[in-house]
Amino acid sequence: MIDLIISILRSGTPLVYVTLAGVIAQRAGVWNLGLEGLMIIGACATVLGIIVTGNFYVAMAIAMLLCMLASALLWFVIDRLKANPIIAGLGLTGLGIGGTALAVQAIYGSLSAVNAPIGVPRIGPLFGPFAPLSIFVLALPFVVFGMWVLLRRTRFGLRLAAAGEHPFAARSVGVNPSRMRLVALLAGGVLAAIGGAELAAGSLNLFAQNMTSGRGFMAFAAVIFGAGHPIGATLAAFFFSVVSALGIRAQLSFGDALPHDLLQALPYVATVFGVWLSGKLRGGLRAAGGGFGELRDN
């Protein structure tokens, strides 16, 4: 049982951090489909940074910086150049996946996985069987709670939401919606970097090409499933990782009786289910036939 909990926490934690990045962007009115790309940049930069500097914290700072830079690029393209957020987000994702592959190949001359000597600091023996979990797992409840306070219990959160929902209302009280979007995307860059770091260096301490395998998109789906609420989205993200963990568990129990490749599809199916359910319950968050879903700004 404890094994199961640990495996859920391990697979769920990176997803939740990236989901929170999506939540804050969604609050500011940006559909961030670049999460996948940010996450893999975070993962790759952390592992390579650890290898080069030997220090996790320096590596983490580099990863955050790079993800903020990528977020700023995304902001520039969709806010200043009015590009379509969905396509631009997919572009950023492609840049992340391709760029990290290129970086690994440039340094190691091949595309095999890269191992780091150390990873995210673990929480230690004080926590008994949970000792091998990383500090980011421990920090998670505080981060989620902090995000909830920030978005739902502060004036800043209201202004962010106003900038997303009704940019004109924000402008008419002197809030610059475009700057709010930048702030939200930069904060999302930091969170996605943590998510990527946790994925790569939270337990295995390695980076492999394309290792996010759709987790960024799942995080995006968790934002929808969780109605953009920090806690709801966190629960949605954990729901996806529970499904995934149960799939692995089923595989271990039944062995070859179940096609193992199809069990791997379970989290993706769960994601579709989650998005379907939230569409059913609340109607789509995005307006129907809304052309190219451009940022609203009147």
Partner: protein, 514 residues
């Protein structure tokens, strides 16, 4: 002499090649109610937004109480005590009232608990006599309450100058009276009020001074209201006369007198639409229709009055078949139509000029010919072949017949002015096969010339035998063109009047006070 509360010097605003404001210099004395009037497109809203810092002027400067204000900066204007109440309210619909008040607040308490927030704004609302629960969601509020919240939002900081942009456009006559009371109270507290208006009657009722804009230029003002008369103001607002439409101009300006169309005795004509105790599901944009009965006869113009959000949109959707009906019957051109799709209804002769011209009426990024031909394509088969060149030629003929000013049928609809855009919709929706024409807010945002054109077109359509249903929140408009007026309240049709109409009686029906 006391300093001016607000002084604007040589303000100019250009959008592309259009001069929205041109060298406007005007100063307002403190502690008074100043009306700024002009027809649509005269630059009133732009003027208000420049003063509030929402629009950066390309030239000129603004001074508040003698201090010059950083142009195009809302925070700077707000710091000087300038607040703007928008025509279409700037309140995020998902916010609660308390949140909507809080997010523009600049004082202490940026971190709060929910009870704190409610308490903080409960007293503010009470002090302003706005009777709305602070925990209510904006999207659930009727428009008059939303306006109260919007005014309360503008007063969360210590406002010295309050600008209200066309605040009366969405209100019932009683709502307008209540608003004027509120404005007078604020004036008594020393707030300088700028009221953007376009009805002369309202100017004369509430303002101390009046300033007239026309075509982005200052025409006159501020003139003491005691020194002006309705005809003088009308002349100032319109400039040269609009050909052959003096009655319509007076109606469009709300210049006191209301013209009366005599009831034309159309009772024997066939019914083009007949709703019998029709009820619907609630619509996302308003209440459900509740046992609405309404008949429109060929050649008749029926007006629908009511404060916005009382089921007018649902009524149009019900006639269009875009909302599910739960009880009752409806007939269109004599055919039972509850089960028909909109395309089938259009084949029977239903035409719709929808509420939102730029969203529901036209695709602004599509070409004129595509916009124009859409109805015919929908009525035909999906896979039928088309010849674009021939369609463009037919479109050219139609647009010319409706005297649309345009360059080519391949230009985007968004490049036309409001009046010309509405003419494109008329060219599509008003034809000889039209049995019932629904015209929802057909003149909103149009200048007086275009308004008169739309009215004349609808009258002509009725004269050719179409039934016309006009939905408007402008009673002057309804009084001017309707043979009969029904009043909607909470999804019901609560009263019916025939010409000549009485403003007091219709206004009372709109708020349910009989």
């Amino acid at each position: 002499m006391a300093a001016h509360a607000l002084a604007c010097r040589a303000i100019g605003v250009t959008y592309g090649s259009l001069k929205a404001l041109d060298d406007v210099s005007v100063a307002f004395a403190p502690g008074q109610i100043h009306a700024v009037v002009g027809q649509n497109g005269a630059g009133k809203t732009t003027f208000a937004r420049v003063v509030a810092g929402l629009v950066a002027p390309s030239s000129g400067s603004v001074e508040v109480s003698g201090n010059s204000v950083l142009p195009g900066n809302v925070a700077a204007s707000r710091a000087q005590g300038v607040e703007l109440v928008h025509q279409s309210f700037a309140l995020p619909p998902s916010f609660t009232v308390a949140e909507a008040l809080e997010f523009g607040f600049t004082g202490k308490g940026a971190l709060y608990s929910r009870p704190q927030l409610l308490r903080r704004w409960q007293s503010h609302l009470a002090a302003l006599d706005v009777s709305v629960a602070p925990s209510a969601r904006i999207r659930d509020l009727p428009v008059e309450a939303q306006q109260g919240v919007e005014i309360a939002r503008a007063l969360v900081t210590d406002a010295k100058i309050l600008i209200l942009d066309e605040p009366t456009a969405v209100l019932s006559p009683t709502g307008i009276e209540a608003l004027f009371q509120r404005v007078r109270r604020l004036k008594a507290q020393g707030v300088t009020i700028l009221l953007i208006l376009h009805k002369i009657r309202e100017v004369l009722a509430v303002a101390d001074t009046v300033t007239v804009l026309r075509g982005g230029k200052l025409v006159a003002g501020p003139l003491p209201v005691a020194d002006v008369t309705a005809p003088l103001l009308a002349t100032l607002i319109v400039g040269e006369a609009v050909a052959g439409a003096s009655g319509d101009v007076a109606a469009a300006l709300g210049a006191g007198e209301i013209s009366h169309t005599a009831h034309r005795g159309l009772d024997s004509r066939p019914k083009v639409a007949d709703l019998n105790a029709l009820s619907t599901r609630p619509d996302p944009e308003g209440p459900a229709l509740a046992e609405a009965s309404l008949a429109i006869r060929a050649g008749e113009i029926v007006g629908v009055a009511g404060v916005e959000g009382n089921g007018q949109r649902t009524l149009v959707r019900a006639l269009a078949g875009l909302v599910e009906t739960t009880a009752g019957t409806q007939h269109l051109a004599g055919v039972g139509s509850e089960k028909l799709t909109l395309a089938e209804r259009r084949r029977l002769g239903l035409r719709i000029i929808p509420f939102e011209r730029n969203v529901e009426g036209l695709s602004l990024t599509s070409s004129l010919w595509e916009n124009w031909v859409a109805r015919q394509l929908v009525e035909g088969k999906l896979l039928s072949f088309i010849a674009p060149r021939r369609i463009r030629e037919a479109c050219d003929r139609a647009l010319r017949a409706w005297s649309v000013r345009y360059e080519t049928s391949t230009q985007r609809a968004g490049s036309l002015s409001g009046g010309n855009a509405q003419k494109v919709i008329l060219a599509r929706e008003v034809d000889d096969d039209a049995k019932l024409i629904i015209a929802a807010q057909p003149t909103r945002g149009l200048d007086i010339g275009a308004t008169a054109f739309v009215w004349q077109s609808l009258r002509a359509a009725a004269a050719r035998g179409s039934g016309v249903l006009v939905i408007s929140s402008d009673l002057d408009e309804l009084f001017d063109i309707s043979d009969r007026i029904v009043v909607m309240l909470s999804g019901r049709i609560v009263a019916e009047f025939t010409a000549p109409f009485d403003l007091g009686a219709v206004g009372a029906a709109m708020t349910g006070a009989r």
